[in-house]
Symmetry: C2
Subunit: 206 residues, 2 copies
DNA sequence: GTCTATAGGGGGATAGAC
DNA sequence: GTCTATCCCCCTATAGAC
């Protein structure tokens, strides 16, 4: 076993903070919960990250980057077609959210309340999305008349909602559908295949 | 000015609690905020509703019922066709969420954390949805081969996500799209028209 | 019913020993 | 760098006057 260095402790705390913040949100998370989850003392948390607020901002920023990193790679890949990108996006996001099921609702909740509202400004989300190669491919297809006139914003909104919503609504879905975890996973798996098909049919609809 | 009766005060408090809980969630909401919002003293809140927890459960239950009341009426209407129901659902939900933009994320967040998890069991969501006339119409259309084999659960999931997601992601959407409130409203308005079209095209896709 | 005042506890942060 | 002990504020809830 390696000796406990600064960095390993810092990582343990961040990992614990991520878990607790994601599942309980900023207001619901207690620094004592985080310390316990990390297997360290409360005082040590403040030694590494001056305050709960600072720690939160780091977690929030990294969560956001994790979210976007999955995206930007695909969005700017010059070697994949538009159709292939649809498959890649569904594949990647559903996989990410299967591993981090609390991530979507955490981010949307905190962005809407005061806590994360600042973070969004420090990130060039807009340019990543609207100046990507994906947008160009979309515009080209529209110019060629191969897809309908749906505004890109509506299109991305729909694509994202297909990926994100099942995880946000997971408790209700399991309850209504009477699904066990394995069946829920199977449903998500099926969506990986269907989302690109659905999206394409919508693009040709109006 | 009418004299302040019991009921008017109780209503004022509930109204204030709804606002504060919806925007901040259970953990983030402070009883002092609610009292101030209601224009009454903190002690009075506990006089009417023994505790924050009890008050929350009432708000949660009523929010859920509000959500489902919009739904069940349409779902069991014998006089409207399947296609008409799609239009009614989009129309009603987008209108509801335009008035109560915090409602979706509030409910999904609280259902996923401990607070609202119990409430879901006291409501026959499952029967309302899965035993509705809407389901029967869906099954009939499938039997006649007029729509594809998409499982009803996936279908409802998609329909709901179309309505709900724009409001949950509103801050990001406004930021990315550079939309002012009026433009956001216009986008939602356009979705009222487009959602039924999109859904129908998906149903014929696979 | 409605208020003021306050008890009681929980949670964030720090002092200081090791 | 890590711990124990503790401060202190804020929040929920109640006691008691009106």
């Amino acid at each position: 076993m390696a000796p406990k260095t600064d960095e390993s402790t810092e990582l343990k705390i961040k990992e614990a903070a991520r878990k607790v913040f994601h599942s309980k949100g900023f207001a619901g998370a207690k620094t004592r919960d985080i310390a316990e989850e990390a297997g360290i003392n409360l005082a040590l948390l403040n030694y590494y990250f001056r305050s709960k607020q600072k720690l939160f901002e780091i977690i929030m920023l990294e969560s956001m980057q994790q979210f976007m990193h999955s995206m930007s790679g695909v969005f700017n890949d010059m070697d994949s077609s538009f159709e292939e990108k649809l498959e890649l996006i569904a594949e990647r996001y559903l996989k990410l959210f299967s591993q981090e099921p609390d991530l979507p609702i955490f981010m949307l909740t905190e962005l809407r309340q005061g806590q994360g509202a600042e973070v969004i400004k420090h990130i060039n989300l807009r340019s990543i999305l609207l100046e990507s190669y994906f947008v160009k491919q979309y515009a080209d297809l529209q110019a060629e008349g191969k897809i309908g006139p749906m505004p890109f914003l509506q299109f991305v909104l729909n694509l994202m909602s297909f990926c994100v919503f099942p995880f946000m609504a997971a408790p209700i879905i399991k309850h209504i559908g009477g699904l066990k975890d394995a069946e829920f996973t199977a449903m998500v798996e099926e969506r990986k295949r269907l989302i690109p098909i659905w999206v394409q049919s919508m693009l040709r609809a109006d």
